[in-house]
Structures are given as structure tokens and as C-alpha cells.
Amino acid sequence: MSKAEFICIHCPVGCKIIVENEEIMGNECKRGEEYVIQEMKNAKRILTTTVFIEGEQRMLPVKSDGEIPKELIKDCMRELAKVKARLPVKRGDVIYKTSTGINIIATRSMEKKQE
């Protein structure tokens, strides 16, 4: 007998999903099932953070273009602390390739500040 409880984080509904003897219950949609299977195998998350911008005081918001294994997120943050983006950028531009193979992309477009 095995029983485990999860809360699906794939949408604001936040279904409570119970897994008992390989049976998955409580998810309101298919994404919940996929989430639980992934969570039991290897929990992964999208990373959202910011990076520095060359010659500017403000930060550029970025995210991982795919999910990163949870335990590697801290390493990614360490790598990203050294990154400096160059303006202008467009939303979706690849800003950095992490050692996990997942790209970090810009989540907004930004022009250079006018002098």
C-alpha cells in the first residue's frame, strides 16, 4: 500500500491529487496527471528570475525555456549571477544557455535608456 498527496501547481485551481496504489485521483484535468507522474520521477520547475544589464541600473526579467530539475535551480541561479544582458532585447530572445542545456530567455523587450 502506498499513498501520496500532491497539489497540482499547473493552474490556479490547485487540485489536491491523491496517488494510491498507482491510481491517480482528484485531478480536474490531464495536466494534473502528468504533473504527478513527473513529480514522482523528477520534480521540475520553470525558473523565473532577473539578470543584470550591461551599463544599466535596472534588471531584465528572464525565465527558463522549459522546466529545470528542482535540485539544479540553485546552480542555475549561481551561473546567472554572472550574466550581463546587452540591450536592446526582444521578448523571447535567448539570453544565456545554462549547463543543464536549458535556455534562459527574456520575458520582456527592452530598449536602451535614452541619453
Binding site: 497540482c8 490556479p12 490547485g14 520553470i46 523565473t48 528570475t49 534588471m59 520575458t107
Partner: protein, 409 residues
């Protein structure tokens, strides 16, 4: 230097967050629109870099800036007269005075859309005693410091309040290398969505202390620590449970209040429960030709609902400006049992309505009952104060002078 001066616009939208952007876009289908924003377009979304936006409108989770940019691009293409860095100072009738880089503008308009969003509750509004050292921030200010300006507010942090913003900040600070000692919540349940408790606290082993509050603040120039204590059912601190936590940063994530100085100036009637303008289902306020949408009306959990409200306000402001809007004020909606507030509060009573309501307390297996000319019932497995309840009601139930909404077991 003084390119300012007198101008005219069919509609003026005040505030360029998701509400104002959606309203401007819709309104521009009817007449010329001027959008005034004191900072940059996107509003609070530009500092909400996490993903969690647009699940219902886009069918996927976007970050705040991504969600905003979709609408900003469309607003630029729609030929809207967008003026950023422009603060509205005063509204008198349908005359608006704003100040921006071009000097002082005086704009005459036919219709106004209020979309100023909300601001945060601060320490004085929740009455924490103690000294006033540096190192105490509201969650939104801290979010802006880290995500936009790249400045860390502290190294060892205590967070008061477990709403979504507090939860997000706990994760963000941890990722950036700070130590979050814990999140303290005065209520017996977390204030934010459960998914955020999971992905922000559980993922990073950050403890959540329910039924706790901060009772004292220590430190002279810089914060040196806070005293937390358990609270009883009446939310009063329990003697003997006090605990000192050394920290250099306290984050207050204790809620938002609609920003309604301008609305009051115009004479718009304010609902004491929502702290926002009283509106009907077309988002018209008590002042004719003045519409309102988004967090200025009531604090929303989901930006998708803000966009929808913005579109309704924009469409009807547009119709008003071209003389195709008839003002009707027929029924009113009463917030009944276990209902803290309902929006809209006033009904024209002729069309189907989506009512938004917040419950007072968490309840399981409840019925939501709408009683008007007829009665309508809907079952819910669970209702929580942290999650807005949305219910679509048919016009034939609403054609009555008084409609009441109750949530009972």
C-alpha cells in the same frame, strides 16, 4: 519646454496596467483614446516576474511582463495616444489635469475610465508597535527593489502575511541568496493560493507559521530583529509565546487597498467593503460617464479577470462617448451570509451578469444561492477567502430591485 496645454479626447483612461490597457484597446474601437500612465505601461505586472498569469485568457502560464507585453504591443498598434510618465493630478467633471514630461496637460473628455490599481497596506495601518528602524518594507516595494532595480532589501528576512505576494517574495529572496526565517500569518489558513504555498514555501523548505503575528520591532538605525507571538481566536497575542528572531529585514505582505483618491475627487460613491467605486455590470460608477475596472474596483487574484473587466469598461465608455449608452440603475445586490462583498453592486437588470464575490470564511460543500425574481443555486466543494468566487447569473433571475447572494452549507 512647455509643449503641454489644452487638449481633447473622446475617452481618457487613467492608469496603464492590465485594466487600463484592456479598456483602452476596447474603447479605441469606438472613438479616440488617450491613456495616461504615471510610470511605464504594464502596471504592477512589470515587477511580477514569476509565471502565473493568463492561464484563462492564453491557456498557458505567462510571467507578468510577458502578459503585459501582449497588450502593450496591441495598444501601440491600435493608434491609442499613450502618454507614459504622466500623472493625473486632478479630475473635475470631465476635465483632467495631468503632469508629465511635456508639462501640465488639461484634457477635456466625454468619458473617463479609472484604472489606477491599488496600493499596499503599510505598517501604520496594521498597528505594529516598536521602533522605526530601516529594513522594513512592504512586499510590493521589496519586489520592485529586487526585480526591477536589482537591490536586495536584506540578508535575513522575516515575512509577515501569507498572501500570494508574501509567498512569492519568500521564494524570490531565497533564490537570490537571502535566508527567509519564516512566513508568519495571523489567520489559521494561508492567505494565498495553495499552489503558491507549494511552489514557493514547500519547494524551498521555508516554514509557514499560522496563527502568528509580529508584536514588536527591535533596532535603532537598522532592524535588529522582531518579536513574534502566537495569537488566540480573537487574533490577540498570547502571553508567554513571544519569541525573538534576529533579522535585518521585515517584509509586510499584509494586503492591498484600491487607490481611490481621484475617484473620491470626482465624487464617485465608494463601497466601504471593497474600498473601491460602486459599479454596475457595465462598470459604470455612480457618476455618469465615469467607468472603473481592475484593482481600483476591488483587489483581484487573477489578472485574467482584470482584463475582462477592463474590456467591459472600455466598451461601455466607448459607447457612452459616441452617445450609444443608456444609463440604467435598477437593482442592487446584497452581500448575504458568508459573503464579504459582491461586485457589481448595482444592476441594470437586463442582461446576464458575472458576479464576483469574496467569502468571509472557508467552508466546504456549500451552496451559493442567488435570490432575485427567481432563485438560482450553484454548489461548490470548497470556498476560501483567498479565492474569488465567480458566478454567472441569467438575466431572468436578476430582473428585480433587490438581489441577494448567500453562501450556506
Amino acid at each position: 519646454m512647455f509643449a503641454g496645454g489644452k487638449m481633447k479626447a473622446g475617452i481618457v483612461v487613467i492608469g496603464g496596467g492590465p485594466a487600463g490597457l484592456a479598456a483602452s484597446l476596447k474603447a479605441s474601437e469606438y472613438t479616440d483614446v488617450m491613456l495616461l500612465e504615471r510610470d511605464e505601461l504594464g502596471g504592477i505586472l512589470q515587477q511580477c516576474i514569476h509565471d502565473g498569469f493568463g492561464n484563462f485568457i492564453f491557456g498557458k502560464m505567462l510571467t507578468g511582463p510577458e502578459y503585459a507585453e501582449h497588450f502593450i504591443e496591441r495598444a501601440r498598434d491600435a493608434g491609442i495616444d499613450i502618454r507614459v510618465g504622466t500623472t493625473v493630478l486632478q479630475v473635475e467633471g470631465k476635465k483632467i489635469v495631468a503632469s508629465g514630461s511635456d508639462g501640465i496637460l488639461e484634457i477635456e473628455t466625454k468619458a473617463i475610465v479609472l484604472a489606477m490599481g491599488c496600493r499596499e497596506r503599510s505598517r501604520c495601518q496594521i498597528l505594529i508597535p516598536g521602533t522605526r528602524p530601516a529594513g522594513i518594507y512592504t512586499a510590493g516595494t521589496a519586489q520592485r527593489l529586487i526585480n526591477v532595480e536589482g537591490v536586495m532589501p536584506g540578508r535575513k528576512v522575516v515575512i509577515l502575511g501569507s498572501g500570494d505576494v508574501g509567498l512569492m517574495m519568500a521564494r524570490r529572496l531565497t533564490l537570490e541568496g537571502a535566508e527567509v526565517e519564516g512566513v508568519y500569518e495571523i489567520m489559521p489558513k494561508p492567505g494565498g493560493l495553495i499552489r503558491n504555498v507549494v511552489q514557493c514555501l514547500h519547494d524551498y523548505n521555508i516554514p509557514l507559521h499560522l496563527c502568528h503575528t509580529v508584536v514588536d520591532i527591535k533596532g535603532k538605525k537598522r532592524l535588529e530583529g522582531v518579536v513574534v507571538a502566537k495569537v488566540n481566536e480573537a487574533m490577540k497575542p498570547i502571553k508567554g509565546t513571544e519569541r525573538f528572531i534576529p533579522c535585518d529585514c521585515l517584509i509586510l505582505a499584509v494586503g492591498l487597498i484600491p487607490e481611490n483618491e481621484l475617484s473620491r475627487q470626482i465624487g464617485v460613491a465608494i463601497d466601504s467593503r471593497t474600498q473601491g467605486p460602486i459599479v454596475d455590470e457595465r462598470m459604470e460608477t455612480s457618476v455618469e460617464g465615469v467607468f472603473a475596472c481592475g484593482n481600483v474596483v476591488h483587489v483581484h487574484d487573477l489578472v485574467d479577470d482584470v482584463t475582462i473587466a477592463g474590456e467591459i469598461a472600455g466598451e461601455n465608455a466607448g459607447k457612452y462617448a459616441i452617445g450609444e449608452f443608456e444609463r440604467i440603475r435598477k437593482g442592487k445586490v446584497i452581500a448575504g451570509e458568508n459573503v464579504r462583498y459582491v461586485v457589481p453592486q448595482i444592476l441594470r437588470g437586463m442582461e446576464d451578469v458575472t458576479s464576483y464575490l469574496r467569502v468571509e470564511k472557508e467552508m466546504e460543500n456549500v451552496k451559493l444561492i442567488v435570490s432575485g425574481k427567481k432563485t438560482f443555486e450553484k454548489k461548490y466543494r470548497i470556498v476560501r477567502p483567498a479565492e474569488m468566487v465567480k458566478v454567472k447569473v441569467n438575466a431572468d433571475i436578476l430582473t428585480s430591485n433587490e438581489v441577494r447572494i448567500d453562501v450556506k452549507s
